[in-house]
Amino acid sequence: MNGTYEEAVNENGMNFHFVPTKKFKTIAITAKLKAPLERETITQRALLPYILQQGTQSYPDRSALQMKLDSLYGAVLSINGSKKGNHHIMTIRLETANQKFISHESDIVDEAVKLFKEIIFEPNHENNAFPGEVVSREKDTLRRKINTVTDDKMRFANMRLIDEMCRDERYKLHIHGYEDALERITAENLYTYYKAMLQEDQFDIYVSGDIDNEALKAKLLPAFQHHRRSGSKKPMQEAEKYPDQANVIIENQQIQQAKLHFGYRTHITFGDDDYFALHVFNGLFGGFPSSKLFINVREKNSLAYYAASRFESHKGLLFVFSGIAPQDYEQARDIIEQQMDAMKKGVFTEEEMANTKELIVNQLLETMDNSKGMVELLYQQVAGEMNLSPDALIDGIKNVSKDDVIQVANKLDLDTIYLLTSPGGDINE
């Protein structure tokens, strides 16, 4: 129904996914490397994206690499890391103009495939190490990143909430890594780790755009002749947490607007039977401007500029975010908790159900209209180790009943409430 299909091929221990679509004027090649979240490796994985952008064997520094990208019609290279449940995913993406839209151009795609391969398999290195000065410089960059998280209050509050909520779980690991681990990284041990990653991580490559699958297969598969050991590591299983009482954490900073965040356990992950109902639950509760949180916290009580909820599909968490005046903490907290109660009691109409489903389907279809979003959505299946195509996901959402949503609401456990406020801001005047 969204007009896209995916052809998957497994070769050389890698999974290749071809996604032809006429929606875009560009072609994107995306590599996804997946490994268990570990305290020992997360800092290296946070640093690598910065290093890999600093050059390859043929384009040995950032300027040379950038000139190459520019001459490929401003091809954009982006490399970053993210958490999905108990896994860390490193994404390397190269997007370039499709030569179909440029007169007298025919080898952009060939060149892009060649460059992409070189960025991954032949980063600038010497004697089994990355260049020392690049590593030391990029360590500074990452150290900065680790230390400036506190400047973005919304992100900071979210990070602190997860710190507290997942204290004994690997999901608490910070995506930018840790300063102590950073000190121990050297040009040599980072290179050794990267080599191991290329061997051991689960490795997926997506090619999307207005492409001819067969022609691209012929270009791509031989280019990625890379011998890999089979089988990727799985994280240790962690016991599901069932909090019996919510933990309340209040912290102070010099700020004008307080951040009130809630963390719930959903006990539902991607592809579970009630995963579809979780989507609908979140839509009714806080996913849209028509949701309970927005209407009640913002519109009816003028307490916040934003009040919303979002769920994590692979770990089974749901978060509420709101920005409020410090003195409104208790009132806002009561109203948010009342909205959750209303959800548990099923205080929403069939009409609201139908509208919300339509909004969610709309959102998913729109994601498929976005070149990055499309790959992210398709990759959910790899991350969640479950075949559930976007079309099947949409069908599942359409079939959710009101009872399904009430059941999900009653499955949710409030784990932690986190308030970041100005000094004295949590005391009612």
Binding site: G3, K22, K23, F24, K25, T26, Y50, Q53, R62, S63, L65, Q66, M67, D70, S71, Y73, G74, A75, E95, T96, A97, N98, F101, I102, R144, K145, N147, T148, T150, D151, D152, K153, Q253, Q254, I255, Q256, Q257, F288, P289, S290, I295, R298, S302, L303, A304, Y305, Y306, G323, I324, A325, N355, T356, E358, L359, V361, N362, L365, E366, D369, N370
Partner: protein
Amino acid sequence: MNKLVYDQIGETVYKEKLENGLTVFLLPKSEMAKTYSIFSTNFGSIDQTFVPINETKQINVPEGVAHFLEHKMFEKEDRDVFADFGKQGASANAYTSFTKTAYLFSATDQIEKNIETLLDFVQNPYFSEESVEKEKGIIAQEIEMYNDQPDWQSFMGTLRALFHHHPVKIDIAGTVDSIYAITKDDLYTCYNTFYHPENMTLFIAGNFNEQRIMDLIRRNQTSKDFAELENINRGYPEESASAARKENKMTMPVSVPKCTVGIKESSSELSGDEFMKKDLLQDMVVDFYFSKGGPFYQQLYEKQLIDASFYFETTLEKNFGYTFIGGNTSEPDHFADTVRDLLKSTREALFSSEEVERMKKKKIGQLLRAMNSLEFIANQYIHYETVGADLFGIIPAIQSLTVEDVNNFSRNWIEDERIAVCKIVNE
């Protein structure tokens, strides 16, 4: 309905100016699941002084009124318009910029109904004393949220350093004080003047049939009455070419200081191809020097004056323009001096033909990538239309740029008195 075919990029646009003055653009794109629709007025935060419709005297309205009005458009006597869109499977939003206020939705279903909702809610205001009062708390929270964001403070702080009087130096949302002064009557005065169809554009891109949609819009618009409107008389203060001050230093709790170097771009009123050419050159030259791996970026990087937060941006509007270069830096003074010296060196620099070719390729690729987004196409098409230029004419315009064009621009780009610096340091 005028049909404009752009062969090279494979797009077709249908254009019509309706009898009531509204300009409509339709860009059908059946590969997409969604339709994006934006209804935009040439009324932004800089329009604070003007002659209201059917009056003769110029008035001043409080800072932040355009943004306040945008918020209040969604509230009707008996309902909230977000909910209307929600019921029709659409997600709606709005934004206010320095020069525009825009209302928009995207949807994959019920497109016709949603277009009618968009037209009707924007063309049928309801403001009451009570609802205006209620909104003040919400907008005050929005302003406080921005007050805590060092990046936004740095952005506005640089604008205040660059501009003497031009209202671009005023925060789009206004201040907590200024918004508390806004009345229901201010909103109606602005509404009646600036939300006239003559001052508005509707752009719809996505999955629909152009004939049906154009018929629907015509029908909807003929059923409504509007007063006559000639030109809106707007007043902008005289603004000299130089920066208002050399430096603006602010204190805020930040873990690393921030520094932005601002260039006040020359703002001789341009339109059509001239505007587009200047817009492109400004953008391409800044990008050449400051994008990752560019010669200036590389020097700043090697001197350890920048980190991953480094950014640059450039904007050209009809009567103002600016370029910002900034980010987190532990040595704000050293950063500012270095950027200033680098900028001055551009007057002597000469671009080679290979460099210009590469710049052109990069810009073309950037545009094609941006055109993956219906939002980009609709917003930018309107932006260029306002200054008499054509978004889809950009690629040929880039192809026609010469080495001399780039060198001429670069030789005259930087003048010391048009540079200002904004620093944010810890208390």
